[in-house]
Symmetry: none
Subunit: 312 residues, 2 copies
């Protein structure tokens, strides 16, 4: 039986692993195999330059930062299995963790499975997913299929504007399709969108359909004020409409909020089940930064350590 | 008038500065001049190797990590004044900050002044500080110089026992040096200390002197009941006699707990005064790690940003 099993592969998971490894709890970490639709390493692997993770004055690429953190985790002694956890049993102790290659038991569990970008389930979405539709402008925007085309971004928050701005590097024009007649984004980001001549705002609009042949070539857009439909020729459609926490595998054995995020006791990583701790974006819909995830990973490690030494 | 004044110079302060600078709030940061008895940069400047700050697989020295974070903060646009804040006025807005070189006003304030490990001022303490003497078992215990040695911990509270227990993973034996003939610690923690075969209690004792050559090798201990002195061979001496949060300059204008730590609303950096945020060790007596401090600095930045954009 394991002392601690950590489920996840981002900064929260590996910071928890670094701390529990150094404290000689010999943790076992499941990094998942495209779990949540994202490669091991989590959302950082889908970003380019990271300027706000403290410690790197010249910036560092997301994948490189994550490689560093994983290497540090391994160096501290973390055992890693590249297996997706399909389900868990938290009803009795030891806790059980089920994968395609068998089950594992642990005295304590740290859940750090993150959150995944949301989809809209519009007509044609499945057909053109990754054939013109993407949830990550930063990862996919540079692909040849998107070069010098008109591209569309759906969303009205900071992320949508970040992605639209990023895409202006490759696109001839970027349409920012906003559901309402205002942006949810911060003032600074709004100004950034408004002053970028390559970005055109499409207000009060919903994308109804993705249309194309082998790849996406058009979108049908409804103006929800006038009820008029319009076809836009686009070479790509990027979703920036929020995230879904990766908690389905828990099958409601932990208390979740209305959006599916794990509820932790504020200021701790304690979940509704004693001995199960949660950290990173899977329990944080507010801050959602690599550095806050890492900080909470450390908290989960120390909380688990305390739990295990008191439990004996 | 400033948008945001940040008081502090450690990972919490500079992460808050990096985020608020990038968000174009043009923060002004006071790093203090040996404030709290520690150089600008905070407690990291008094550590050697840091193995548990994620992102550095080969470790990084505390001062180098802090230099990096400060450089990144400056590069993002943070204006830094090397001035100690003597007092503040939080009774009306804008908040006032008083230094030897005049007063400053700000719409929002981030307090990240940290905590300072209490010292005992024994003979040799200055000489062997971080050369065998440490104030943080969790940070330093895993370092090679402490492996398989007899280690001593000074203190009788929960933290002392936690640190002693933590050290038993690396040490051949841990001496817990207690001033009185009882422990201040909770029952559960006392039992934990008593039943751990690697922990030996040294009751009614005060450490008089730290002795060594290049690094600590012995301590001289006085039994305050019998008045006998004894030399113990040790590879490390860990102070667990508490920290002092650097909150005196606040003059009780923020709600503090019984130990002087700023009370924040759990899961946020909100203090008892709207528009004043606290992050890092000045509000955290539980986790107290560089990475948790940095995470909370990011939270303070985002909380302050939200406050300022909603304020007008």
């Amino acid at each position: 039986m394991e002392n601690i099993i950590i489920i996840g592969s981002g900064p929260a998971a590996h910071t928890a692993a670094i701390y529990t490894s150094r404290a000689k709890f010999d943790p076992l970490l499941f990094e998942g195999l495209m779990a949540g639709g994202v490669a091991a390493g989590g959302q950082l692997t889908t970003t380019t330059e990271v300027e706000n993770f403290p410690g790197f004055p010249n910036g560092i690429s997301g994948p490189e930062l994550m490689d560093n953190i994983r290497a540090q985790s391994v160096k501290c002694g973390t055992r890693i299995k590249t297996l997706t956890v399909n389900r868990v049993d938290l009803n009795k102790k030891p806790f059980k963790v089920y994968t395609d290659e068998g089950e594992f038991a642990a005295k304590a569990l740290i859940v750090a499975t993150g959150a995944t970008a949301k989809r809209l389930n519009i007509t044609g979405e499945e057909t053109f997913w990754q054939r013109g539709i993407s949830a990550c402008a930063v990862c996919d925007g540079a692909l040849p299929i998107y070069r010098n085309k008109i591209l569309a971004v759906i969303g009205g928050g900071d992320t949508a504007i970040e992605e639209a701005t990023h895409l202006t590097k490759y696109a001839s024009k970027v349409l920012l399709i906003v559901r309402r007649d205002v942006l949810r984004a911060s003032k600074a980001m709004q100004e950034k969108a408004m002053t970028n001549k390559k970005i055109e705002m499409i207000w009060n609009s919903n994308v109804l359909e993705a249309i194309g042949d082998k790849s996406l070539s058009k979108i049908k857009v409804l103006n929800n004020k006038t009820n008029q439909e319009k076809i836009f020729e686009v070479g790509g459609l990027f979703y920036a409409v929020g995230h879904t926490p990766n908690t389905a595998f828990l099958d409601n054995q932990l208390k979740l909020d209305e959006f599916g995020y794990i509820i932790t006791k504020p200021g701790t990583t304690d979940t509704s089940v004693c001995g199960v701790f949660a950290c990173g974006d899977v329990q944080d819909k507010k801050y959602r930064q690599a550095i806050t995830a890492a900080g909470s990973g450390c908290m989960a490690a120390l909380d688990a350590e305390k739990y295990l030494s008191e439990a004996k």
